[in-house]
């Protein structure tokens, strides 16, 4: 008997995948034409996927023998992945033009990376998780090396590729051990075997947890598996990094949270391990970011610190059984909108094959383009977590979760780290409002750039107003 399948659940993923294929065919036919049909097709397809995700809502559904689990966290994750791909596709033409990277293949690859991120968001099956992570990663390896004539871009691609494939090996061996203990690839079988299984199964499961944590930790860039992040962020084209840091991370964060959640009420040991990784990531991210002069490396360390905050949420859920995922959802909204906004600002400054590399290159931004400078103020406030902006809400909910899980010490570490973070984030603002050095021409923004920037600013400022109705529509508990 062929089971009936609710195609609506996997529809958005299919739409994005087909969009990539159509975009590639369109690119083969039209080439690098002035009208840039490839980009238009991609943007159109991503818009359809975004609409269908919003229309579908977020009720919990299982399809394909529970290989796809569409819950609220999954639909929010998919929504944010598609949204960041859309913004990146909108602002990319100007950047690729400025950097003289004439490769329209960027757009299909971006669509397929989005497919990978979407798959990771909506599964608790390790086979599907692995396939999703690989679709995401392999597309990102190619995208990192997109700037074929730049040695830095190629170097970042090979570093990302070798380390990524290495981490995949660990993830897979962990899955093999998991399978050996439980005979299943579904994370939900874990609890009963962890509590009641034979002793040798428990050894296999502990080993499996350690190996899978390495694999997922690498994708989230949790310390001590973070070394690739600054190098890849510095070398890869900035529009690719913009997607890597937002859409590419959402899937990994959701996977980490789901994995921690699947330990149910047996997760004390697991939670403490993840909490250790969280502390390391926050410290590494915030301390090393202070020494950075390069904007992209600074943002890389900032994203490591943010991965640490997500790990705090994951540790809390592993220890306090059945915590709500609302904290992670709020944090992801804030993180994606804010990071995208910062990258849109950096991307808009690229001109004549040059782009801002060091913090000094930001100088004079306030006089060259007041819109960019004041948007940057909003994003920096959200990154620090000041005022009623989305970054603040996310951190607040995560802190509340940590306290529920009796992890007061972890909450204190997180607050201290947020204060450390303020130093280097304000460094960005200090440069932006300093008088111009060298190039002082005004920066003109194209319509897609203005649009993307305003969406991010409105999303960050209006967090308190917008998120509640949106989450209610997606069916939050």
């Amino acid at each position: 008997m062929i089971p009936t399948i609710d195609w609506g659940v996997i529809g958005p993923v299919a739409i994005v995948a087909v969009t990539g294929m159509i975009a590639l065919i369109v690119h083969m036919i039209t080439g690098n034409s002035e009208k840039n049909f490839t980009q238009k097709v991609t943007v159109f397809g991503l818009l359809i996927a975004l609409t269908s995700l919003l229309a579908a809502g977020g009720s919990e559904r299982f399809v394909l023998q529970e290989m796809v689990v569409m819950d609220r966290l999954g639909s929010v994750g998919q929504l944010l992945t598609v949204f960041s791909a859309l913004i990146v596709a909108l602002v990319s033409p100007a950047y690729l033009e400025a950097k003289r990277i004439k490769l329209g293949e960027f757009y299909p690859m971006l669509a397929w990376a989005t497919v990978g991120g979407m798959i990771v968001c909506c599964t608790r099956n390790l086979l599907v998780l692995f396939v999703g992570i690989e679709i995401l990663s392999i597309s990102l390896y190619v995208l990192a090396g997109l700037h074929r004539t730049s040695k830095k871009s190629e170097e970042s691609a090979i570093k990302y590729f070798l380390l990524g494939a290495f981490a995949t090996g660990f993830l897979l061996y962990g899955i093999a051990m998991f399978y050996g203990a439980t005979g299943s690839l579904n994370m939900s079988t874990l609890v009963s075997y962890w509590l009641h299984g034979a002793p040798e199964n428990k050894i296999l499961l502990s080993l499996s947890f350690a190996l899978i944590a390495v694999g997922i930790g690498f994708k989230c860039s949790l310390a001590p598996f973070h070394q690739w992040t600054p190098d890849v962020y510095e070398g890869a084209p900035t529009n690719v990094v913009a997607f890597m840091a937002t859409g590419g991370k959402v899937g990994a964060f959701v996977a980490l949270w789901n994995f921690a959640d699947s330990f149910g009420h047996a997760g004390r040991f697991v939670g403490m391990t993840i909490a250790t990784l969280a502390v390391l990531s926050m410290l590494v991210g915030n301390v090393l970011a202070m020494a950075q002069k390069n904007i992209k490396r600074l943002l890389a360390y900032s994203s490591i610190a943010n991965a640490g905050y997500v790990a705090v949420a994951a540790a809390s859920v592993a220890i306090a059984f059945r915590l709500n995922h609302i904290a992670l959802i709020f944090f992801l909204f804030g993180y994606v909108l804010t990071s995208l906004g910062v990258f849109v600002v950096v991307l808009a400054m690229a001109k004549d094959g040059e782009e801002p590399m060091s913090l000094d290159d930001l100088k004079g931004l306030a006089s060259r383009s007041p819109i960019l400078a004041y948007s940057l103020v909003v994003f920096v406030l959200s990154l620090i977590g000041l005022g009623p902006v989305s970054g603040f809400l996310g951190k607040l909910f995560i802190l509340k979760d940590a306290l529920t899980a009796n992890l007061a010490w972890l909450a204190v570490v997180m607050v201290l780290n947020s204060i450390f973070g303020a130093f280097y984030y304000f460094g960005m603002l200090r440069s932006a409002f300093a008088p111009a050095e060298g190039d002082a021409r005004p920066i003109s923004l194209s319509i897609p750039q203005t649009f993307s920037l305003s969406v991010c600013v409105v999303g960050v400022i209006g967090a308190v107003v917008f998120y509640a109705p949106l989450l209610a529509h997606l069916g939050l508990r």
């Binding site: 190629e154 090996g169 897979l172 061996y173």
Partner: protein
Amino acid sequence: MNGVPLAGFIGLSMFMFITGVVGVIIRRNPIVIFMCIELMLNAVNLAFLAFARYKFSGLANVNQGAAGQMMVVFVMAVAAAEVAVGLGIIMAIYRLKENIDVDELNLLKG
């Protein structure tokens, strides 16, 4: 096949995996590093098949056995995709620098 216990297969698989990990860490040529990663993936495949054959065989748990075997098919397919991309990147580096030693890749640091 019945003469070899499960522990033998898992032991061999772990040996292959550790050989791969050590190889990735100590070798300097990206192609050799990549071969070591493939060795790790093959260790994974061996472990999956051994578990499927010894712990989850027979009609009673045919679904469990099939899960492990399917995983192996997917691992092989993904490994092939990784090879294609990886060798492409190594080619691109060679065209730019005429040298692919990973110690020479030192533009990005800080």
